[in-house]
Amino acid sequence: MLTDREILSTLEMLQNEHLDVRTVTLGINLLDCASHDLNRLKDNIYNKISTLAGSLVSVCERVGEKYGIPVVNKRISVSPIAVVAGPFSSSQMIAIAHTLNKAAEDVGVDFIGGFTALVEKGIAKSDRALIDAIPEALAETERVCASVNVASTRAGINMDAVYLMGRKIKRAASLSAKRDGIACAKLCVFANIPQDIPFMAGAYLGIGEADAVINVGVSGPGVVKKAVERALEANPHMDLGRISELIKRTAYKVTRVGELIGREVADQLDIRFGVADLSLAPTPNVGDSVGEIFQSLGLLSIGVPGTTAALALINDAVKKGGAFASSHVGGLSGSFVPVSEDLNISQAAADGHLTIEKLEAITSVCSVGLDMVAIPGDTSDDTIAAIIADEMAIGVINKKTTATRLIPVPGKKAGDSAYFGGLLGQSVIMPVNNARGTNAFIRLGGRIPAPIQSLTN
């Protein structure tokens, strides 16, 4: 017999604290679609996605209804297209992006990830073709997401790729200038990219994965915030050790929801369950914000001194609770701090409490990185690449995933507003140090070697 407290506290999380399953992402291996003939490859890709994902949306909705837990997003990740479409040119890669977009549209998912190249050690011909195709592919499609892994702890940082990405980001922005450079919101540059991320825009299905897999992204910043607020209201002198314990327990509950829904969807689709990604992912809604948690913990705003320590506590507690709740944890698994997608973080940037430098600093203790950061449209290729390089260095040296999703908003300057709409939100444009300058260091290119794994101070 359930107790009324168990039932009512669960309903409270669902109805007032935005508890949901943020995404169920079907990973589809496209390697068996390979062909030297572009039309055949496109047909194979379309058919495989349609067959495997045809009932994804309806099954997610049915399972969501059964448990009273909304599955907010249903998405698809695919094998890296730079590998699947090895023989093809840049313009042919763009055609493949259109096929992915059509398949996503027809099965009813809002995003499809995997327009991806893995170039941490070197750029192969097909990788270059894909990277060259990214601006057009993202500007001409609505649902395709791209990612490029330019660094890893084992390989170091491919600075040629970093510089190249600085240029491609600028071009993608210019091609979608009328929509404030929205193409860049669908492009992540990574260090140590995981193979099983369910969240966009970084999702792709790794080469070591099965033919099809269900990965789940849980969320719940609102649940954590309310739990902290309730506890501090009951005991204003609660210390941080006990707050950590509280967040851990809350993360456990949130993750159990994702695990339950993910497994049931996987069972019904007869596809293996992959991982639960334990991330606190906000949306641009009041009460569904990571930034608000910092205020609940007593900080004036995310970005003020104390932010890194608070985030370290939150992130660690989320991982501990989540790891206990799920038998398979993966993906990014950490707190997201996407500026435009979180009303509170966006406001902190507008108020001047949060700078790019502070965002970079907190990346050392959380995933993912400089996420959905709008910067002046005239920021130089060099400076964009240099910001990426700094972010990659944090990931490579600290053996963790880091990423950037930078949006140089065409025609706008620091302090202006950028509007992306929907889950992508809106944000003030953040000032960038040496925005228009050149950077000879970045242009030197080559590869920054993989770091030593001892002498760890």
């Binding site: 669960t10 669902l14 448990y67 009273g68």
Partner: protein, 185 residues
């Protein structure tokens, strides 16, 4: 050995269960199941006991009546029947939890359970608190219900949601597993 069902009802006070079980012990009855609850100030308990051969059920009732009347407790005793009732096939059903919140008025439980019964679903536990007034948190019904797999669940949900809307109730219908997953290790 036959079994009896004993139901006790009366104002709550310390010592009720001690008094009941002492009498059962003295009559060599073996308790197999007990469930008791207190609603506001009223105690209610139901006991299933194995009774020794030779103990007449009316005699057992007499001992209980004599011992419990001074405590203002009402006693009902019946033999546990072996006759099969219409029954409910738990194996071909799924456990759900239906929760409603909303303004108190007469007939809420009757309105909801009429629909549940019409679809052949079985209420296994009901907790309801009506403090009156319009604060939804003060007026809550929680039904644990086994819903047969072979009924049109969509129609059941539709009827429940329609009735809830009519009564200005917020209703949630969720599989029981979600509550277990979140709250229990």
């Amino acid at each position: 050995m036959s079994k009896a069902v004993i139901s006790i009802l009366g104002p709550d006070r310390p010592g009720i269960i001690a008094a009941v079980t002492r009498i059962l012990f003295e009559q060599a009855c073996n308790i197999e199941n007990v469930s008791q609850t207190i609603l506001q100030s009223e105690f209610s308990g139901i006991f299933i006991v194995a009774i020794p051969q030779g103990l007449d059920i009316r005699v057992l009732h007499g001992h209980l009546y004599d011992g419990l009347s001074p405590l203002n407790l009402h006693v009902f005793v019946k033999r546990l029947g072996t006759e099969a009732g219409p029954g409910f096939d738990v194996r071909n059903s799924e456990p759900f939890v239906i929760t409603t919140k909303g303004p108190d008025r007469k007939g809420l439980v009757a309105a909801i359970t009429e629909i549940i019964a019409r679809y052949g679903a079985n209420v296994t536990n009901l907790q309801a608190v009506f403090k009156g007034g319009d604060d939804p948190a003060d007026n809550i019904m929680i039904y644990e219900v086994d819903i047969p797999n072979d009924i049109d669940a969509g129609a059941l949900y539709g009827d429940l949601r329609g009735k809830a809307a009519e009564l200005s109730l917020d209703i949630s219908i969720q599989h029981r597993k979600i509550f277990e997953a979140i709250n229990r290790i």
